[in-house]
Amino acid sequence: MKKIEAIIRIEKFEEVKDALNELGYPGMTKTPVEGHGKQKGLKQQFRGTTFVVEFPPKIKLEIVAADKNVDEIVDAIVTKARTGEVGDGKIFISPVESVIKVRTGEKGEEAL
């Protein structure tokens, strides 16, 4: 199993979610985060003076999926989350050794 960790734009979340829904996915965890990569900050203003939001808010999605489903999930996210501007985000894939379903105590892929 793999964990797919996608950091995307807040505005793109609805679209990504809908695409994943159509695809079907085992489950998803969503965390509000702040970050930046190439995108070096957002300008906002307050009482007439600007300030830089160095870490613009993003949404982090975590999906743990069976190895065989990883590619289609990643594709769906990439397609929907892209605007072509800096700040579109990244997807990280890392190994998961084991999954346990709390409700049933099941382990492994069927626990997803």
Partner: protein, 465 residues
């Protein structure tokens, strides 16, 4: 694009120049020795007059204080991502409205009537209008105008362009409210209806609230529902407001201000009936809240806080027109019915695809009409038309027959047609001209950052996208 912006710039410059010329002329005209005036200092300040002034001013301050009530209620019932936008709208509608009403609106509303249609004197409150009595009346009408204006911001919240809202603010304060106000309160044609004692709207269920509510309805209809308000199958989905505490605070502030709104409308504290009015105001609101709360509990199984809050407003709007003409028990009945009507109206509008984020149309519009009608039903024959002398106002239930009810019905119909019609025209014209709805991305992101450059709550992690 380029041409359009050039024209815009030209218009802007012309406007500015004209404005400056006007200002210079104004300054020139008014500054010759001392001010032209009737009685700007009130040389005749008897104690009787002083009491009147104290009462009316304090009540007017209370009405003015309804502004933050609306601001907090609307902000609380909308999402955090639009809170700064709502604050701006609720501030600037008063700002623009007050300036407009002072310069133009008052003359149209209360100036000498032209065939019962609109007033024609008192521009800028210059000359003879620089007078303590005239200023007092202007102030009173100004705060009422601002109330009508600000109601709309709730119905069009979370998707209307700021520019459109500014223009709307001018139109409502210069035309929509003053003209209807003239008809009912300024000696216009509705106040000369040949039925009963003609159109009666003690403190403005119709003139203020229904006008605001139905202009709001027009705005909400032209705009269409917010993204996500109806799901794929067209089923309505609530979009929860971001702060129940702010909303509740807003409702309490409104209620507080409403005592000034209603009791101040005798425009004379020597009419001791102000105590009855205060009691009625204190009873209709609870009745409205109770009706709404119980209805919601019955239909949804939950004690719906938001509905109870809306119910307070419903009860208050309902009692606004009849507050001086009915007994306490009637105030309770009127409030109960108002609360139920509001609930039904919210559900009806929702089912018709009209998205009114805060329930303004139902609470102010629907219940405003109900308030007008209730005068014709419950008026108990103990008080006259802002007068303690006969003729007294009597409604159907106290043996007054249906005449007054007829007058009220006509007023209600006219009120709806005028407010909705003018509102629709205003928003539709603007929509044709430049599009009044913000672009979809902006709506999704919230209006605060794109329009105002700043989020309302930068220190908090907000989870809703």
């Amino acid at each position: 694009m380029n041409l359009r912006s050039k024209i815009m710039r030209l218009v802007l410059r012309a406007g500015l120049t004209l404005g400056l010329v006007c200002l210079v002329w104004l300054a020139w005209t008014v500054t010759r020795g001392i001010a032209l005036a009737a009685d700007p200092t009130g040389l005749e300040g008897t104690t009787e007059a002083a009491v009147n002034y104290v009462w009316i001013l304090v009540c007017a301050f209370l009405v003015m204080f309804m502004q933050p009530g609306f601001a907090m209620l609307e902000a609380g019932f909308c999402r955090a991502k639009n809170a700064a936008n709502l604050m701006t709208k609720n501030l600037m509608d008063f700002a623009i409205g007050a300036l407009t009403f002072f310069c133009i609106g008052f003359a149209i509303m209360m100036g000498s009537s032209w065939h019962g249609l609109w007033g024609t004197t008192g521009w800028f409150m210059l000359g003879d209008y620089y007078d303590v009595d005239a200023y007092l009346l202007m102030f009173w009408m100004l705060v009422f105008c601002a109330t009508a204006a600000t109601i709309v911001s709730g119905a069009v919240a979370e998707r209307l362009k700021l520019k459109a809202y500014f223009i709307y603010s001018i139109v409502v304060s210069a035309l929509i409210y003053p003209i209807f106000g003239h008809w009912v309160w300024g000696g216009g044609w509705l106040s000369q209806l040949p039925f009963g004692l003609s159109a009666l709207d003690f403190a403005g269920s119709g003139v203020v609230h229904a006008v605001g509510g139905f202009v709001g309805l027009a705005g909400a209809m032209v705009l269409g529902p917010r993204f996500g308000r109806y799901n794929r199958n067209g089923k309505p989905q609530a979009i929860p407001g971001h702060s129940i505490t702010l909303a509740a605070l807003g409702v309490f502030i409104l209620w507080f201000g409403w005592f000034g709104f209603n009791a101040g409308s005798t425009y004379d504290p020597h009419h001791l009936i102000i105590s009855v009015i205060a009691v009625n105001t204190a009873l209709a609101a609870p009745a409205g809240a109770l009706a709404a709360l119980l209805l919601a509990r019955w239909r949804t199984g939950k004690w719906d806080t938001g509905m109870a809050l809306n119910g307070v407003i419903a009860g208050l709007v309902g009692i606004t027109a009849p507050c001086a003409w009915v007994e306490g028990w009637a105030a309770i009945v009127i409030g109960l019915i108002a609360g139920a009507l509001m609930y039904a109206s919210v559900k009806f509008l929702e089912s018709k695809g009209v998205d009114d984020p805060v329930g303004a149309v139902s609470a102010h519009g629907t219940c405003g009409l109900w308030g007008l009608l209730s005068v014709g039903l419950f008026a108990d024959g103990t008080y006259g038309v802002y007068s303690i002398e006969p003729p007294f106002v009597i409604g159907l239930f106290y043996g007054g027959g249906g005449e007054q009810l007829l007058a009220q019905l006509i007023t209600a119909v006219v009120c709806f047609v005028w407010a909705f019609g003018m509102g629709y025209l205003t928003f539709k014209l603007m929509d044709k001209a430049f599009g009044i709805r913000v672009p979809p991305e902006e709506e999704l992101q919230g209006l605060d950052i794109p329009e105002h450059g700043t989020p309302a709550y930068p220190d908090f992690i907000t989870g809703r996208s």
